[in-house]
Structure formats: C-alpha cells, structure tokens
C-alpha cells in the first residue's frame, strides 16, 4: 500500500484536470520534456519518492514535444510560470526546484519532507 498517489499525465489540460480532481491535497508535480537529458534527473526524484508525505499526490507530467515547449507562450510557461524542464514543484506554494536542482537528492528530499 503506497502512502502517496501517483498520476501520469500528458499536456496542460490533463495536468489541470488531475489537479482539480484532487482539491485540498498536497500535490507535488514533476514536469518533464520529451528530450533524452530529462531522464537523468528522474532517478534522483524517484529515489526520494518514498519520502513523500502520507496522502500526498505525485503528478508526473510530460509537457509535450520540443516545438511546443520552445514556444514562449505555451500554457506551462504562461500560466504555471515554468522556466525550464525538468521542474519539480509543490502545487500552490512557492516551493520549486528547477533543472539542475532536480538532480540533487538532498534538495528533493527537503521539498518532500520539510514544511
């Protein structure tokens, strides 16, 4: 039995639906692009996933193709204010780890375990 719920989504619309379906929950979102280099931080995040708080939600979101991401007006950049991928954030809070920060286990663990 897992302490957290994992949800996999593709694109902005699916992401928003996943969030609105889980109102009131502590939501952690990991945004990944479809580029090979993105996968190197995944083991770091996956390695710390056991530290997620009980009852929280982990949304793994593929942002879309390279061309979509490169467009500065895409929804992720405009509305969610993402500046790069991968990004790991705690939804509704200013807690965010961007790019190289996602490769650091101690930072990922800090986000999952500290207030």
């Amino acid at each position: 039995m897992s302490l957290y719920e994992e949800v996999k989504v593709h694109g902005y619309a699916e992401f928003c639906k996943a969030v609105s379906d889980r109102k009131g929950k502590d939501i952690f979102a990991y945004f990944s692009g479809n580029v090979i280099k993105m996968t190197t931080s995944e083991p770091t995040v996956r390695g710390e996933i056991s530290h997620l708080p009980e009852g929280s939600v982990f949304i793994y979101c593929q942002v879309g193709q390279r061309d979509y991401w490169k467009n500065p007006n895409n929804d992720f950049k405009k509305t969610l204010k993402l500046s790069g991928v991968p990004t790991l954030l705690r939804y509704g809070t200013p807690q965010k780890l961007v790019e190289e920060e996602c490769f650091k286990a101690n930072l990922v663990r800090m986000m999952f375990t500290e207030d």
């Binding site: 200013p94 807690q95 965010k96 780890l97 920060e101 930072l107 800090m110």
Partner: protein
C-alpha cells in the same frame, strides 16, 4: 588506557569548569575527539547571517544557522531571510513601486494614454503578489542553505557559554550545539512606544503592514500609502529622518505634503483608544499650540525606531558587552565582541549602519577571516544609501552638517542645484523639491565629502557615484565627467553654483 580515552581525559580536564555549568546532555553530544559540533554557529538567518554562513560553508567550514521569528504583537510572523526579505527592503520597494505606478498612470494621460477615471487600487492584489514573491525568496534561501550544506535550524538561539548555543522550539523544547566560533546576527525589531496607553494593543508596525490582508485605510504614519490612495497623516515629534542631512529631509517632507500626505509637526501622541465602530481614536498634544487634539483612524502605524534583538541571547551571562544606551553589542573593527570567539555584526552591532549590503559584505569578510583565508576588514565608510520616500532621497558620504562639524564651515564648499526631470514637464508635475548637493573640501583638490540627491530613481542615480567617492573623487573629476543626456543624474556633473555665493541655484534649460 588507549589514546582515545586519554584524549577524553584531557578534554575533561580542560573543560572541567564548563562541566559544572552545562548539563550532561551537552557532554554526551560532543564527539569522542572532544571537538565542537560545528566550526561556526550563526544565530540569525537574515541578510548578514545567511551571507556569513554560506560563505563559511563554501570555505569548507561546518556551519549551522539558527533563525527564529518571534511573532509581532499583532501575531505576524514570516519565514527565513530576516528583515530585508520579509518586512523590510523587499516588500517596501515593491509597495513603493505600486505607489509610483499610481502616479505614473495619472501622468500617462498627459502623454496621450486614454485611461478611464477613476483609477483605483486594490490592496489585496498588491499584497498577495508581494507576499508570494517574499515566500519564493524564503524558499530560495532554504534551497541555497541546503545546497551549500549549511545546517538550518528553525530555533530561537541563545548563548549558554562561549562555545555552546541553546536552541529552543516554539513549545520550549531545548537542544544544544557546540561551536568553535559563534556569530550573532540577530538584527532588530520595530519599537513600540512604552508610555502611550493603547499603543501596542491597537497599533501596528512595519512588521505588520506588509502582511495585512486588507488595506490599512485612513492611517496615522507611512508615506507610500498616500500613493495608493489611502488617507495618510504622519505625526512627527521633532524632526523627520533623524541622522540624515536635514535640508534634504525637509525637501522630502515638503514633497510629501504637496502630494497629499498630511503632517502633524511637533505633535506627541498620548493615547490610542478603540471606538465601538472599530476605528482608533488617537489623542495627541500639539507642542506648537499647547492644545490637545484627537482624530480617528483605521490604522495606527508606529515608526519610532528599532530595538536590537539582544535581550534573550544570554549575553550578560557569557560576558558579551552591550552598549547600555542602545542595547546593541559593542564590536571591534573585525566584528569581535568582548568574548574572544564570539562575533556580532549587522543591525545588532553598535555603531553599524542598519543596511543589508553592509551586513552581507561584513558577513562574508568575517567568514573568510574565521576560515583563515583573509585578513581584510569591512570598510563602513562612504556607504551609499537611499530612502524610498515618495520623493526618493539618496546620498553617499557626509551630510552637510557632518562636514561642517568635522572640517568647519570655512573649509567646505557646497555646490547645489534645483533641477527639473524632463519627464515632469509633459506630465506637468511640480519639481520644486528635486535637488542636488555636492559637499566638498574648499581647498586643495576639493575632494568630495558627500553627495545628495532628491528625485526619481535616486538609488540608481547614486550607485555609480559611490564608486567615485571610494576612488577619492574631487570636484574637478566630477566637472570633467560628461553627463548622459537627458537624465537627472547628469545634473550632478553640471553643478556650478555654490551656497556661499547666494546665487539662484535653479538649473535653466540646456
């Protein structure tokens, strides 16, 4: 008996007198070699404390920083980062910007923009945006400390002895850390008047204003509020901007009065009462008329000075000397205190400027000295600063009063000019208080002693000139500098009228 146990015995004998005072728990936490838990423990996670601890960690020291925010009288509290990030520089500048934009929107019509009347301001929108930015800075600091391997503890720190720091949680649970060196950077908090009934109960301070969920309404005290449409009155007991050049302070307040902030000069508040409506009734004595006056306000903001966060540190027990008048820690040029391995800097240091950049720099230099990497001391001279009043005022070096005091009236020359920012012309804005003053030596090379400027973007204007002062700029250097046109800053390079001449100092067109 092996060498390990012999080392312990040696440590025991060395610290025997400390054994008597500290609890068994402390001794058990020391590792077997008898060394300290940390090379450096910093009490205070503000501008100074964070800079110092991060620098020390980068230089290979084992560092811990304790940060704790005692809630204000109104219950306001905030995250890591200290005064600057949470209740000082950052929210102040952002709300000042909100006010400037309000004025800019009105000016915009003269520049052809079709903007419908009335233009109104929503406090909640501004407050949320500012508070979100502050929270992102709190998080940013957490990430930096973690990344640089600085141990962060959200505990209220105090001194147990010269090598032991006690950390306390909100609920009173204690823990102890030992350190080779201890740095105190706990800063200060706004003062409440102690002799005015109702002051603490009904009033707020800068600790609270940036975190209010609703607009403060009709307020007694605080300039930016007029700019965002709040009815504001500032009550001044004697002088405004004490410690600053008083001529410049007068220009600042004249401007505020001209733009709608009401001033009550020579008035001393006597009591604050809450009315059944919820409004606050303030009674004050007008020293100029001898009469007692009252008025009601939605909010009363006290801005009557800041007090050092030193009382609960246990300083007297450990023997750290404190200035009896100010309550601040007495420090040497190298930020040392009367106890050899304890240092203090930032707002808590006696005689230090209460500014973020000096705390940051002093903190970094201290860390380098403690790590044995440098002997460089902090230079507190010629530090430029800006007061972000509705008409901004920036300066570097001596005020005119200080220059006269140090050198004598006859040995100084003051060049000055009243100028008009180009942008004010089309906007039909009054520029009567836009002014520049260059205080320099009268003889020899005429070294510049102080520069003063009131006008738009005062901080941006002054930054480059502070470099000039650091390099020993003279009046000729200034006059030989070609200005950038059209700017306000160029007026500094064009001064030619002296106060001594008595001539009209108003700049005419180019």
């Amino acid at each position: 008996m092996g060498p390990l146990i012999q080392n312990n015995m040696a440590a025991f004998f060395k610290s025997r007198h400390r054994w008597k005072r500290t609890s068994c728990f402390t001794i058990l936490t020391r590792n077997l070699t008898g060394k300290y838990d940390y090379d450096l423990v910093v009490i205070g996670g503000g501008s100074g404390g964070l800079a110092c601890s991060k620098e020390a960690a980068q230089l290979g020291q084992k560092v811990a920083v304790l940060d704790y925010v005692e809630p204000s009288a109104k219950g306001t509290k905030w995250g890591l980062g200290g005064t600057c990030v949470n209740v000082g520089c950052i929210p102040k500048k952002l709300m000042h910007q909100a006010a400037l934009l309000g004025t800019a929107v009105k000016d915009a019509r003269k520049y052809g923009w079709k903007i419908k009347d009335p233009v109104s301001h929503d406090w909640e929108t501004m407050a949320e945006a500012v508070q979100n930015h502050v929270r992102s800075l709190n998080w940013g600091h957490r990430v930096q400390l973690k990344d640089k391997k600085v141990k962060y503890l959200n505990l209220k720190g105090s001194l147990l002895d010269e090598h032991t720091v006690r950390g306390m949680t909100k609920s009173g649970k204690e823990s102890f850390l030992t350190a080779k060196n201890i740095v105190i950077a706990t800063g200060g908090r706004p003062k409440y008047p102690t002799d005015i009934p109702g002051a603490m109960e009904h009033g707020i301070t800068s600790d609270d204003i940036f975190w209010l969920k609703e607009a403060p309404g009709k307020t007694l005290c605080a300039g930016f509020l007029t700019g965002i449409g709040q009815d504001t009155k500032v009550m001044v007991r004697s002088i405004a901007l004490r410690g600053f050049d008083q001529q410049m302070a007068g220009l600042v307040t004249d401007h505020m009065q001209a733009y709608g902030t009401r001033f009550a000069w020579g008035c001393v508040p006597q009591r604050v009462d809450k009315l059944p409506s919820g409004a606050l009734q303030v009674t004050w004595a007008d020293t100029r008329t001898g009469k007692e006056e009252t008025d009601s306000f939605d909010s009363v903001l006290w801005a009557v000075g800041r007090a050092p966060e030193a009382k609960a540190l246990g300083l007297d027990k450990v023997g750290v000397e404190v200035n009896r008048e100010t309550g601040k820690i007495v420090v040497g040029a190298d930020e040392s205190t009367s106890v050899s391995n304890i240092y203090a800097f930032g707002d808590i240091g006696e005689g230090r400027p209460e500014l973020t950049p000096t705390a940051v720099k002093a903190g970094r230099l201290l860390a380098r000295r403690l790590a044995g990497q440098s002997t460089q001391l902090m230079d507190y001279d010629n530090v430029a600063t800006t007061v972000f009043t509705p008409l901004e005022y920036s300066c570097v070096g001596l005020s005119e009063e200080e220059a006269v005091g140090r050198h004598g009236q006859d040995a100084i020359e003051v060049y000055h000019a009243f100028y008009k920012p180009l942008e004010f012309t089309v906007a039909e804005r009054d520029a009567s208080q836009c002014y520049i003053k260059v205080v320099c030596e009268r003889g020899g090379e005429q070294r510049i002693l102080g520069l003063h400027y009131t006008g738009p973007n005062a901080g941006e204007v002054m930054q480059g000139f502070s470099l000039a002062l650091r390099c020993g700029a003279t009046l000729s250097h200034l006059k030989e500098t070609v200005g950038i046109h059209p700017t306000c800053a160029e007026e500094l390079t064009k001064v030619s009228i002296t106060k001594r001449s008595g001539l009209d100092a108003t700049v005419t067109g180019c």
